[in-house]
Symmetry: C2
């Protein structure tokens, strides 16, 4: 049993000794070069493929299903994986009710509870696309103003475990029912966050330097076709019409490891707002999306401490440290720490598929 | 006397009947094709030129000063002007003290005064680069949630008159003293804003759909070399060291026309944070900037009503409408309204130079 069988076949961009970037799919522990199959695959990024649209995606995927098993198997250990697509705009949402409630309670104790608009629309903000990096890229600890007149390295460096959606086909005012016509596939996202910088800077325009230094994504883009779909969670009050029907939920189970110790298992299936609703919201004002736009779910947190998608929540803002396997304790990230977010999901064929992982090591 | 003499020579991208995009400079009321001068100018955008760096910019500008007057003069009326550069990341600041104080008073009367961090750092946020459009592009009135359960067209559509800075040379941690090595030139920006959508959505992550539908920029990028520089305003309390020295102020005088009636004259010279400080802040956390990054000053407002850079301020949130030349009154924008922001500045030679204008008409 593999998480990367023929029912998965995620796309990535790899290079071997010659340094040339090629498109491949993952099959088991190997990469298969699929660049010869179509002109859109003879490219250094997935963008041309992503722009083709769902009928061609289906056709090419079907062809790859036949050809990939017969292609030379290149062990994963022998390739370098690159950022799989050129990121156009990067947007991040805030769509886990548990996360939003936890953050309000921890950061705004004088006003706990969800922000007023939270159940009416998927709150989001724009991030920095130029600092989206592929898994494995070291993350330099950001500097910034931590309080009035205090400048230095962040002492509260955190992660946010998220699921990201990659737009293939451009559009405007995309109804929830047309989600699958526009979205090409799914990646894992770690939206690294400096909580001290964030707390000082975020009023009234939102987080800025606290998140713009790095956003890591997994190297494999899992096609939407590979996922089983489920009914979304019940939304009460009923959203306004452009957010209905809610579109499908995906059963993605995340796993966060801190220096090799599993510290949480955030359940994406429990997110309040679906990816289809996020895309409908993002475009309902007339804004366009382009090939390569990336939008992320927001931190995925479940109801229990062991399902927290951020260390802010996991350690109650550092006040209740976690113990790692080596006996050391952590509130926030120390230099040299490595965080790996991996995930599996229920696949369209009913089996479990892998999304791979997104990893990063903090350096000074 | 022209605002577009040899001491100005802004760059733009134009096409004539054949539809091919070429790089030109503006001289008086004409465009001069400069694409034959250098490979970096034989391009459909300014990005390759912008990536060359200041020594080459100076050399090419010097060559253009000799060649442009001898080149065929194409009347402006005969060309179409395009978005002059591919926008990488778009960032917007909030650096006019008068604007920030006005907005706090109007939108947060329970907590007037500047946000706590305002005098410690240039507050900013990321916008949507995919919806940056060139002057003249019609602006569709955005739809969104205006209050709980209320979805429809914005009834409080506004402008923000701003000055934008275009990054040429990539970098990280750019000290204020290296501003001119990285920034290629200056444009005018209208950051269209839907105040009702903004008020409902902006807590806690900042404006999102209220601003993402369109941001208009002027077609001419005025090289930094064309501007005279002046001392920045006195900053008290003294900023932390990465924001010092403050770098130069530019004496740009904006002019806002609403359906042809001049309604305000925002003074950019009075901005609190300089463009050099904004770039230093944007990159101090380790974030990189790329060729084509655009960052804008934030709404430029002076101390008096007639110097407001937004209609929110000009009309006190619609409660004190302005009278236009045709006798009609306005609180916010109506369908069919046209706003033109133009500007002049003190040039390096001591003469007045033009920045052209950014215009847009609201359609339903």
């Amino acid at each position: 049993m593999t998480l990367f069988g023929l029912e998965n076949l995620p796309y990535g961009v790899f290079s071997t000794a010659d340094g040339v970037r090629r498109i491949g799919v993952r099959l088991g522990g190997t990469v298969r070069d699929v660049s010869a199959i179509d002109d859109a695959l003879r490219q250094p990024t997935l963008n041309a493929l992503m722009a083709l649209g769902r009928p061609r995606w289906t056709e090419i995927r079907s062809r790859i299903t036949e050809v990939a098993p017969l292609s030379p198997a290149i062990p994963l250990a022998e390739v370098r994986l690159h950022l799989p697509f050129d990121v156009a705009d990067y947007t991040d949402f805030y769509s886990s009710e548990h996360h939003a409630a936890n953050v309000s309670r921890i950061l705004r104790p004088q006003r706990p509870g969800l922000p007023a608009a939270w159940k009416h629309l998927p709150i989001g903000y724009h991030g920095r696309s130029g600092t989206v990096v592929v898994s494995g890229t070291p993350v330099e600890r950001p500097h910034g103003q931590l309080a009035e007149g205090v400048f230095g390295p962040s002492a509260r460096l955190d992660i946010e475990a998220e699921v990201g959606f990659v737009v293939g086909v451009p559009g405007r005012r995309i109804p929830t029912g047309r989600f699958a016509e526009h979205v090409f596939g799914v990646v894992l996202v770690n939206d690294w966050s400096a909580r001290d910088i964030q707390a000082f800077e975020y009023q009234p325009l939102g987080p800025f330097l606290a998140k713009s230094f790095a956003t890591s994504v997994s190297p494999w883009v899992v096609p939407l076709d590979a996922f089983a779909t489920f009914p979304a969670v019940v939304q009460e009050p009923r959203p306004v019409s452009y957010l209905l029907p809610p579109g499908p939920a995906l059963d993605v189970q995340l796993r966060v490891e801190w220096n090799g110790t599993e510290v949480s298992t955030p359940p994406y299936a429990q997110m309040y707002w679906t990816a289809a609703q996020q895309l409908a919201h993002l475009t309902v004002n007339g804004a366009s999306v382009r090939t390569g736009d990336l939008y992320a779910s927001g931190t995925v947190s479940g109801p229990s401490r062991g399902e927290a998608g951020s260390f802010l929540e996991l350690t109650s803002n550092g006040t209740e440290p976690v113990k790692l396997a080596d006996g050391s304790v952590r509130g926030f990230l120390l230099d040299g720490d490595t965080v790996t977010i991996s995930a599996t999901a229920t696949g369209a064929a009913g089996t479990t598929i892998g999304l791979g992982s997104v990893t990063g090591t903090v350096c000074p």
